[in-house]
Amino acid sequence: MTDTRTQILQRLRSANTATASVPGSEPASPSAATLTSAPTWPVRRFDWGPEELTDRFRRGIEAVRAEVHAVGDDWPRQLAALLQARGARNLRYGPDGPLAPALIQGWPTAEGVPRLVPHDQPIEACRRALFDDTDAGFTACRAGIAETGSLVLWPTPAEPRLLSLVPPIHCVLLEADRIVSTLHELMQREGWAQRMPTNALLISGPSKSADIEQTLAYGVHGPAELIVLLRTTSAAGTGSAPPATADTARTAAC
């Protein structure tokens, strides 16, 4: 196998790939050189104010059949009502997630309200429950992208990857002030290249397919419904801390 590797690389090298490199100026590390010689351009972003960012995000994600609900501090109550109306029996959430305390505290206790189920086991211990007995999953999210109407998730040990994927309904709380104009802007602002997580996701609407006659059908393998709770924190502040991931400068450019 090492032989194959060497042969492939040799074939590629013998092809005279030298482009802009000046003879005699070979850098110490070839990989550093290939990165610095990579084409760059100014960050592609738009000067949209907070209202326009929210508006564009909302229109974008609603166009692909996500539901967006403007919420305040009683968002757990609103979420419970939305799920109850759908006949959901339960909602799985990560008890160590950044919004778990607020979720538990604000969750109504009336009869018929979906049950909160903590999702705190390794998948090997809860695969069956997650696949067979879960109606909805709840996660926080890192950011929103206005241009494409996308949610940005970096799943964590507290809110693992399958929690936003396996249950038929995925519920997300997005802070309105975490919406940026483009993916490029977000990557650059948060320095993604230096700190990529195991899994980074853009989610734009519920699962869908157009494989039959180019006709959209929803809920193929992932969630059939995506409920976005969009929270606009008032200027006075409500005391609720931004998500734990809000650790980068958000003051740049805008």
């Binding site: 196998m1 194959t4 042969q7 492939i8 690389l9 074939r11 590629l12 090298r13 092809a15 005279n16 790939t17 030298a18 482009t19 990989s31 290939t34 990165l35 990579a38 084409p39 760059t40 592609r44 692909v64 705190d120 086991q121 998948i123 695969r127 069956r128 696949f131 241009e147 494409t148 109407g149 996308s150 040990p157 693992p160 399958l162 994927l165 396996v166 490029h184 990557m187 993604w192 290249a193 990529m196 195991t198 899994n199 980074a200 996701l201 853009l202 734009s204 699962s207 869908k208 397919s209 157009a210 494989d211 039959i212 006659e213 180019q214 059908a217 809920g219 193929v220 393998h221 992932g222």
Partner: protein, 494 residues
Amino acid sequence: MASAFRTRAGLALSRERVRGNIRRAMDGLVAKRRAAFPDDAELAQLRDQGQAIRDHALANLPALLEQLEQRCRVNGMQVHWAADAAQANAIILDLLRGHGAKAVIKGKSMVSEEIGVNAYLERHGIEPIETDLGELILQLGNEHPSHIITPAVHKDRAEIAALFNRHFPDEPCSDDIDQLTALARRVMRARFQGATVGMSGVNFAVAETGTLCLVENEGNGRLSTTAPDMHIAVTGIEKVVARLDALAPLLTLLTRSATGQPVTTYVNMISGPRKPDERDGPREVHLVLLDNGRSRIHADPELRATLRCIRCGACMNHCPVYTRIGGHGYGTVYPGPIGAILEPQLQGLQVQGELAQASSLCGACAEVCPVRIPIPQLLNRLRHEHAEGPTASQSPSQSASPASSQSVPIQAVPGGHRPGLQGRVWRAWALLHASPARYRWMRRTIGGMGGLLDGPFGGLLGGLFGPWTRSRTPPRLARRGLQDLARQEGFADD
């Protein structure tokens, strides 16, 4: 005697239902792409970036592959190199056997079609399970994709309903698209839950961070790469890009060109296996880097542009040949204009050289290509090589490239040859056009035949044009040509 390709194309043309299905789908995709790029200036800028990113990656391919490998290893993935399909399949089988897997769930991947991994695994007692709705339909029907993005585009709902009914007789029968989709969800759900190994392709592999980027709409790609204990990603060596921020323009180019979507439902960026404190995700992630002829294509400075491709499928959506004969008309894994330049290079001109003829050279493919692959130019180059044998340094496009100034003639594409009759016809054509006297003689001779076409033998002569005149009015040849008329008006020969 008709060649295999011509026979296939003829057969494809006679399938009215398939042609209708494909035509409708392609018209829809063309309209969606057009609506997705309302701003010409923005599109031009994005294409510049896309081309620059891909050109840079190909110009630095060996270094970037080494860096990708190193970053992936640091991230905890395992990297394998495969010279050809056989090696890639053997690597995959080893991994599956090592894991004790009886089955593998698959996300949609054209590279996996290229290496024929499904048939290989079946021969070795492992069940490959396609999970993408389109791929599932094809697997049930024992067919191959007819399009690289929307693989079952040639089938309509009635055919799919009949197919599902045959394979899932216990499920309710319906040709309603929502119900067919729901059925696919139900039958696949258990497979996702029980799977121990998942396989996927890769849309972009980022050298800087050791990240595999996958786009999809259904969620089966995320499930295949997240739910099992082991994830095997297979990709061509050309899919690498240097920097993470290259994903921003490439993603938007890819999804808008392919389906007119601003972004796919899911963009899945994987940078390693599950970490000790994480509660799900595969414990092992393997990346198989496949050459399979790509390093040979890479060696030719002109043909290298083929490897810029990001597999959006826009060239086939806009191709007058593809929209008529469909993917199966080509008989290759990669159909359409990109297939017509890629397959002859991957498989050799002797095997697939004729595919370079499967084009009217209208140029629509090059106009929509998000990374500006000059497909018509490359088709001409391959036609030339097919007829004349390998191009040496006299190729004009090669001498225009700075990289080839000291390069020795390379046989870029194996198997070039001069087909007997075609070669003779073109030699005769060249002879007649090389001298004014011979040209005048030819013109007068043909002009004289114009009268015959109108006369009693017209039908007989018209038959010589064969299929062309079956649906078209035969050409009427003027008795006096443009040159004669020009001379009459006082123009000199030069």
